[in-house]
């Protein structure tokens, strides 16, 4: 083998999966409401749990969920992660906070960002509220909410997280 023909030691073997994702009835309905600045869940007719984002069925009971419930854009931190390592393709600069948040009126959390906070102060039970993009930018997307910021409200005890009514702490 000549010098200019160096031994091959590696190959590029990328795999690209091209999807056309269809939201389905429940998610489409949810996103249509988010486009109007409203956060909705669906209540299970059997166990009465409220799910967000709604999937059209209760995973626990295996029954369709039809009743739509308007939720608050206030929520409680159920758990969180402080991301310190940059993720390729992610435009957000670390460190940033990703949290599982339970909106008031729902019984399950969804994932969103937290900001306008001291990362070191973020804690389970913390009260937060959505910071929305300007209304003219609203689309069928969860990032109509830019992030959640802390609220000046007392913490929710762990056993009450995921059990608040839509009216929040006072309710």
């Amino acid at each position: 083998m000549s010098e200019e023909n160096e031994m091959v030691t590696g190959i590029e073997a990328p795999i690209y999966l091209k999807y056309n994702f269809t939201a389905g009835a429940a998610a489409a309905r949810f996103l249509a409401q988010v486009k109007k600045g409203v956060v909705t869940g669906q209540r299970c007719p059997k166990c009465k749990q409220v799910y967000i984002p709604p999937r059209g069925a209760c995973a626990a009971c295996g029954v369709p969920t039809k009743e739509e419930v308007v939720l608050a854009d206030k929520a409680t931190v159920q758990s969180f992660t402080i991301v310190s390592i940059p993720i390729p393709g992610n435009p957000i600069e670390p460190p940033f906070v990703v949290a599982n948040l339970v909106p008031d009126g729902a019984n399950i959390s969804f994932i969103h960002l937290m900001s306008e906070c001291d990362n070191a102060d973020v804690h389970i039970g913390q009260r937060v509220q959505a910071v929305w993009k300007p209304q003219e930018e609203w689309d069928y997307a969860m990032d109509n909410i830019k992030y959640f910021k802390p609220l000046d409200e007392p913490d929710v005890p762990v056993e009450k997280i995921g059990k608040l009514p839509v009216t929040g702490l006072e309710g």
Binding site: N5, V8, G10, I11, Y19, N20, T22, L31
Partner: protein, 146 residues
């Protein structure tokens, strides 16, 4: 509850893998870059193309590289009527198991042909090299009927 419009969105998930080839496949690809095809001799004397690192019967490490021919014979094939995006041609072609001269085991590659009835088991084919070789299986652009 009114029926919402159907929402859909395209997105692409990419796994941008790079794979290390190891000494045997690395040698095979390096030889391809030089427009040469090598196999490896297994413990029972068979010449295996592409070369493998370990003997299929005894599992011992293999190292005896053997040059094989750039022509061979179609052992079996499948005609692709409607090529897909990742395929090597945008017109119909054949995937074929090709036993190269000097090899005992067939290797899969594509065969360029105008029509399906031109391709047959036992047909002789010859490697056509890519204009630019870089150490990849596509350095063999395709096999052509002799």
């Amino acid at each position: 509850m009114s029926q919402p419009e159907v929402l859909h969105q395209e997105f692409e998930l990419g796994f941008t893998y790079t794979r290390s080839t190891g000494p045997v496949v690395g040698r095979f690809l390096t030889e391809l870059k030089q427009r040469n095809i090598v196999g490896i001799k297994a413990s029972d004397g068979r010449v295996v193309v592409p070369p493998m690192e370990y003997d299929p019967d005894t599992a011992e490490a293999l190292s005896e590289f053997v040059d094989v021919g750039q022509e061979g014979e179609i052992v079996s094939f499948a005609w692709v009527k409607e090529p897909r995006e990742a395929h090597p041609f945008d017109k119909p072609f054949a995937w074929a198991m090709i036993r190269l001269d000097g090899a005992d085991v067939p290797m899969i590659h594509c065969v360029a042909a105008e029509r399906e009835d031109q391709v047959s088991t036992g047909a002789r084919v010859r490697a056509r090299w890519a204009d630019e070789t870089k150490g990849f299986i596509t350095d063999i652009r395709c096999f052509e009927l002799v």
